[in-house]
Symmetry: C2
Subunit: 353 residues, 2 copies
C-alpha cells in the first residue's frame, strides 16, 4: 500500500464485471469478457475522443515536424510501493523518456499483460492511478491492448506504455552534444525510487519512509526550453542510476566527467538504506530525476528555473565535463581522492521498474 493517502483498502471497483473478482483467461479472448473489461474498466478511466473510437488504431492530429517515440515495459515488484505504483510509474516513465528528447509528450498507448487471478479491483485502482498520472502530465491515453496469461506465467500485471511527442523547431538534445566545459545539473536527491522499492522488499524501516520520486518531468523540461536555455543533453537516470547516465554522456560526447561526490544530493534515509544493503546511490534507479547538461554561463539560470518547479526544489550542480580521460567518469571523494565510476556489469536491483 502506498502511504500517501492512496490506498486500495476499502476501495470498491465501480462496476463489478460479471461478479468475477479476478481476471480469468477469457478477459483476454477478444470476446464479451474482453469487451466488458474495456467498456467498464478502461474506458471510464481513460475516456477521450481518440480512445472512444475504439479502432484497431487511434487516429490523431499531429503538427508537422519531428516526432519523438519511446517505449517501456514495467514489471516492478511490488506493484504498489511508498510514493507510487506500477500504473503511475508506467505513465511517468514514458512521458519522461519522450521529454528527454526535448519533445512535448502528447499521446501514450497502454498495453497490459494480466496474469490469471489478478484481482480486478486492484487493476481498476491501478488504471485510475494511470489516468490521474496522464492528466497531471498532460498526455492522452489513446489506444490499448490487454492480454491474459495463465497463472505462473506473469506477475499480476505487466504494463507497456509507448509515447509519442512533438519536438519544437531548432531543438537538438542528445548526449553526443555534451562538450568540455559544460556543467551537469540534477533536479533533486538521487536513489529515492530504487531504495523505496528495496526497503519494502527487505522490510527496512527508518524514521521517515523512503518514497519513490516517480513524477512526470515534462513540464520542468518545457520550462527550461521555454526560457531558451541551451540544453545540450537530458537524461532520466533510471535503471543503472546516475552512473549509467554519466557514463553514457562520457561515451557519446567522447569527454570526461568529473563528479563532486560531496555535492550529490542524497536523502539521509536513502543513504542509510544503501549502507545497510551495501549499495551505492550512484547505481540506484530514479524515476523523477533528470540530468541536465548546459554551458557553464547558463547554469545559474537553469537552476533557478528548475527550483521554481516543485520537482526541482533541490536542483543542484553535481559535475563538470572535461577534456581529460574521455569516456571515463570519475568522482572526487570527500577526502580529496578520485575514483572511477564505471557502469555496473549486471543487475543491482532486479525488477525496479
Amino acid at each position: 500500500m502506498s502511504d500517501d493517502g492512496a490506498t486500495i483498502d476499502g476501495w470498491v471497483c465501480p462496476m463489478p464485471l460479471r461478479d468475477q473478482p479476478n481476471i480469468v483467461m477469457g478477459h483476454g479472448g477478444g470476446g464479451k469478457l474482453s469487451a466488458e473489461l474495456i467498456e467498464h474498466l478502461f474506458l471510464p478511466a481513460f475516456s477521450n475522443e481518440h480512445l472512444d473510437g475504439l479502432g484497431d488504431a487511434a487516429v490523431m492530429d499531429l503538427p508537422p515536424g519531428r516526432i519523438a517515440m519511446s517505449t517501456d515495459s514495467f514489471v516492478v515488484r511490488p506493484r504498489i510501493f511508498p510514493g507510487g505504483n506500477i500504473g503511475e510509474l508506467a505513465i511517468n516513465g514514458t512521458v519522461n523518456d519522450v521529454a528527454m528528447a526535448g519533445a512535448e509528450p502528447k499521446y501514450v498507448s497502454v498495453a497490459m499483460i494480466l496474469e490469471e487471478g489478478m484481482p480486478i479491483d486492484e487493476l481498476a485502482w491501478l488504471v485510475q492511478a494511470m489516468a490521474k498520472a496522464a492528466e497531471t502530465a498532460g498526455v492522452q491515453l489513446v489506444t490499448g491492448d490487454t492480454k491474459v496469461v495463465d497463472k505462473g506465467h506473469g506477475d499480476g500485471v505487466y504494463i507497456n506504455t509507448t509515447g509519442v511527442g512533438v519536438i519544437r523547431d531548432g531543438i537538438d538534445i542528445h548526449p553526443r552534444n555534451v562538450q568540455p566545459g559544460n556543467v551537469v545539473l540534477v533536479n533533486g536527491t538521487i536513489g529515492d525510487h530504487g531504495m523505496a522499492i528495496m526497503s519494502v522488499r527487505e522490510g527496512l524501516e527508518f524514521e521517515s519512509t523512503i518514497r519513490s520520486d516517480t513524477a512526470a518531468l515534462n513540464h520542468l523540461i518545457a520550462a527550461l526550453l521555454d526560457a531558451e536555455i541551451d540544453v545540450r543533453a537530458l537524461r532520466d537516470p533510471t535503471r543503472g542510476g546516475l552512473a549509467a547516465t554519466l557514463n553514457e554522456f562520457a561515451a557519446a560526447g567522447e569527454v570526461g566527467v568529473v563528479v563532486d561526490e560531496m555535492k550529490l544530493p542524497v536523502d539521509r534515509a536513502v543513504a542509510s538504506a544503501c549502507e545497510i544493503l551495501g549499495m551505492d546511490p550512484f547505481y540506484v534507479a530514479n524515476e523523477g530525476k533528470v540530468v541536465v547538461v548546459v554551458p557553464p554561463d547558463q547554469a545559474e539560470r537553469a537552476l533557478e528555473i528548475m527550483r521554481a518547479d516543485e520537482l526541482g526544489a533541490k536542483a543542484t550542480q553535481i559535475a563538470e565535463i572535461v577534456v581529460g580521460h574521455p569516456g571515463i567518469v570519475v568522482a572526487k571523494t570527500a577526502i580529496g581522492a578520485t575514483r572511477v565510476v564505471d557502469t555496473q556489469v549486471g543487475e543491482q536491483l532486479p525488477r525496479i521498474c
Copy 2:
C-alpha cells in the same frame, strides 16, 4: 519449429554474449550486460538511422496530417509454430492494426519482457525474424526496451510492438461508416492461424500441415486505396475471429450483417481440425486476413485488386450489410436455415497471439 525452412536447429548466434547461453536477470539491469544485449543482438538486426541514436526516445520526421497509433502485446504459445513465430507475428500484427485505419505504417517500437533462462540463441533468431518481417512490411523499428523477469513469472519472451503510421488525406475508414447495401470481402481462408497453433498444442496431424497466415497486409490495403476504392471499413479478424469483426461492424454501423456460410473460404485441414476440437472457424483467430467493406458497385474491382496480391489470391465476397436486425450478424447455412452468429463470451483459444 517452423516447417518453411525457417528452423532454429543448427543456427548459431553470431555473437555469443559473455559465453552466457541464457538470459540472466542482469540483462535487464541497465548495466553492461544490458548494453551488450543491445549492441550485439538488437542493433545488428534492427540497425537504422533512428535506432542507432540510442536515445531514450527515437526522433523521426513525419509529414503533417493525421497519424494512426496502435499497440499490441504478443504472448503466443508456442513461440515458433508452422508458418511463423512470435517475432514475425508481433511485427505483422501491429503493422496490420495501423493499416486498418487506412494509414501507411512507418515506425514501430519493440519492447520485450524476457524470462530468466530464455535461450539467447532463440532470442537472436526471433529478433532476426522480426527484422525480416519489418523489412517486408516496409517499417522501421526505431526504439525498444528490454526487461527481464525471474523464472516462473514469464514464458520465455513476451513482445510488445507499438506502431505509428500516416493517414492519407481524405481517408475516413471506420466500422461506423458501414452502410446497408455495402458488401463484405475477405482476402482468403479463415481460421488458419488459430488452428495452426491449436494443432501443434494438441498434436493433431493432417495430410498437409496447417500453417499460420501471419502476414503484413499494408501493401494490399495500400493497393485498394491507391485505386481509390471507397473503402468503408477495414478490420483484421484476429482474437474473436470473423464473428467478432462482423459483430463489431453490426454494432458500430447499427446495421445487420448476413453471411453466406457456403461462401466462407475455409481450408480443408482447418475445417477438419475445427471439427475434431469442436471449434467454429467463425471464432478462430486470423493473422493475415482483412475484412473489407465496400459499396456493391466497387466489389468486383476491389476483389480484382486484392487477387493481384499474393496475400489476396483467394479473395472473395462473404456477406452483405442489411437494414434489418441492426446489431445482429446472421449466417445462412448450407441447408437454407439462418443462425445468429454472436460474439463468444470468454476464451476459445488462450494465448493465440
